[in-house]
């Protein structure tokens, strides 16, 4: 190295230690305390860009397939048999339910293996842990990023519904927040549960088969829950998919819903979400600080 280069390198090292351009450290800490959730959410969203096209294809392709299969396929059969369901054609009946269940099923993928990657496989959570961000903010930031993804996914689904004429009400856009709320009602508790797992996450396959599938099939998605015998209806009552579906049907075609049940559905979804968030924050804090 020439002397000239050496001098320059020395100047660089000094600049690295202190450039005078960085804000005060106390300012950094205050900003992180205020906005750490968004900082971590941004990282997760940037990470999703690696799967941008798969996510887009899935978000557009899934509703298209469903609308064609249910509307033109099954819908034709149902219409020629019983005619209208719940006062509307079958496609309009089933579309909001499919939106809700699709989003809830997608949250299963986002809040299981990626949580394991954060704690164990790639230890992604441990990088922000060494910064001014706190464990609770990491938990919430991860969920916020997933919520943002689902807002987009639900909006695409809604547009497909519009294109197929399956969203007659002027309030049908409300299926977007409803779908996302149903997703957090299941996703937040799932995230909290995933944060307690220290093995390889074999439980997730079990959850997929024995929790998510029944929640989808027995939640009044393809037929009104009242058609089911009472001893099976409880599966719907505890399923965020059913509560979300009822709300989505109200938004899409003004399905009859008493104010009491409206409160119950919204309350149930909010309660699950808040309880899940509180547990997730607690479990993340415990695990990342032990």
């Amino acid at each position: 190295m020439t002397d000239h280069a050496r001098v320059e390198a020395d100047a660089d090292a000094t600049a690295l230690a202190y450039s005078g351009r960085a804000p005060e450290h106390a300012v950094m800490a205050a900003r992180a305390r205020a906005r750490g959730v968004w900082y971590y959410a941004e990282t997760v969203l940037r990470g999703m860009r690696a799967y941008f096209w798969p996510i887009v294809l899935y978000s557009v392709g899934q509703p298209l397939l469903y609308m064609v299969a249910m509307g033109i396929g099954l819908g034709t059969l149902v219409s020629s048999g019983v005619g209208a369901v719940d006062g509307v054609d079958y496609l309009t009946f089933v579309a909001p339910a499919l939106l809700v269940s699709t989003v809830v099923m997608s949250v299963t993928a986002e809040m299981t293996y990626p949580v394991m990657a954060g704690f164990k496989w790639q230890r992604l959570y441990y990088a922000p842990m060494a910064t001014a961000v706190s464990p609770g903010q990491i938990a919430l930031g991860h969920l916020v990023a997933v919520v943002i993804r689902f807002l987009v996914q639900a909006a695409i689904f809604w547009l497909v519904m519009l294109a197929f004429g399956a969203a007659p009400s002027g309030w049908s856009f409300l299926v977007i927040p409803v779908g996302v709320l149903a997703a957090t009602a299941f996703g937040a508790p799932l995230q909290a549960y995933a944060a307690t797992l220290t093995d390889e996450g074999f439980q997730f396959a079990f959850i997929q088969r024995f929790v998510v599938m029944p929640m989808f099939l027995f939640a009044g998605t393809f037929f009104p829950l009242s058609v089911m015998p009472v001893y099976l209806q409880w599966i719907g009552w505890i399923s965020p998919v059913w509560h979300g579906t009822e709300l989505a049907r109200l938004a899409t075609y003004g399905a009859p819903l008493s104010p009491l049940m409206l409160t119950v559905h919204v309350g149930f979804l909010l309660a699950c979400t808040v309880a899940g968030l509180m547990l997730a924050v607690r479990f993340y804090t415990r695990r990342l600080r032990s």
Partner: protein
Amino acid sequence: MAEPVISARGLRKVYGDFTAVDGIDFEVQPGESFGLLGPNGAGKSTTMRMIGGTLDRSGGELQVLGMDPADHGPEVRAHLGVIPQQDNLDEELRVRENIVMYGRYFGLPRSYLLPKSEELLAFAQLEAKATEKVGNLSGGMKRRLTIARGLVNEPRILLLDEPTTGLDPQARHILWDRLFRLKEAGTTLVVTTHFMDEAEQLCDRLIVVDQGRIMAQGSPRELIRDHSTREVVEVRFGSERNARVVAELEGVGVRNEVLPDRILIYTADGEASLEEIGRRGLHPVTSLVRRSSLEDVFLRLTGRSLVD
């Protein structure tokens, strides 16, 4: 003397019935390079995590820049650069993005981060890899990126946990050089290592820890003076004869140590001791006179048996 940047009194960490850190006291002065030297499982990383407030302590006092990290985690960590033992780069993100996003966790604006990330990429000699995926980097490159990332908030204290483990000799020397310059520029370094040469190169002062306790402390030179002799003679008589010969070596040096393959004679003057061995009619197969190193101190204090 200036106010210490880190001070620990009776610092303890207990996991169930295992005591990882057993009441240690130390102070780190601003601008110094302080080492924690010890075998695996000695409690070095545990101590580092308590300094950053990412691990709750079980007892004792701890102050970092006048704050308790258990209560003021974000405020303390805003001043710290943490280089973990295990790289935890985000492999979904590009090289530059890893630095930028890490800087975002400190609330740093993009107007600051974009030029800063260029400087740090230059520091890590990764300019050409700025838009590469992290997954495609070699181990040494990842390590350099982890270190560069830890500097993004212009930390006053840099915590380095086994910084050069897994690096090749060239990369280690480059890194030592970079760290030395940071120290010259006023950054306080706290380094854990089990590499003696690293401790001798980097640390002004160090503590030797074993089983959660401080076994000795001082500068590398003081430790050698206090816990070893100036020189060491290594002689080999063949593995069967070593044990028999040792009795006849009594008094040649200050202390002898028999290892399966050789005998170490701790002495002030190695050449004189070697002559004395010859005078006693003993003819080792091979002999070597060397200066005492931190490794001799370390092995004396922490034992030669394998720790898992």
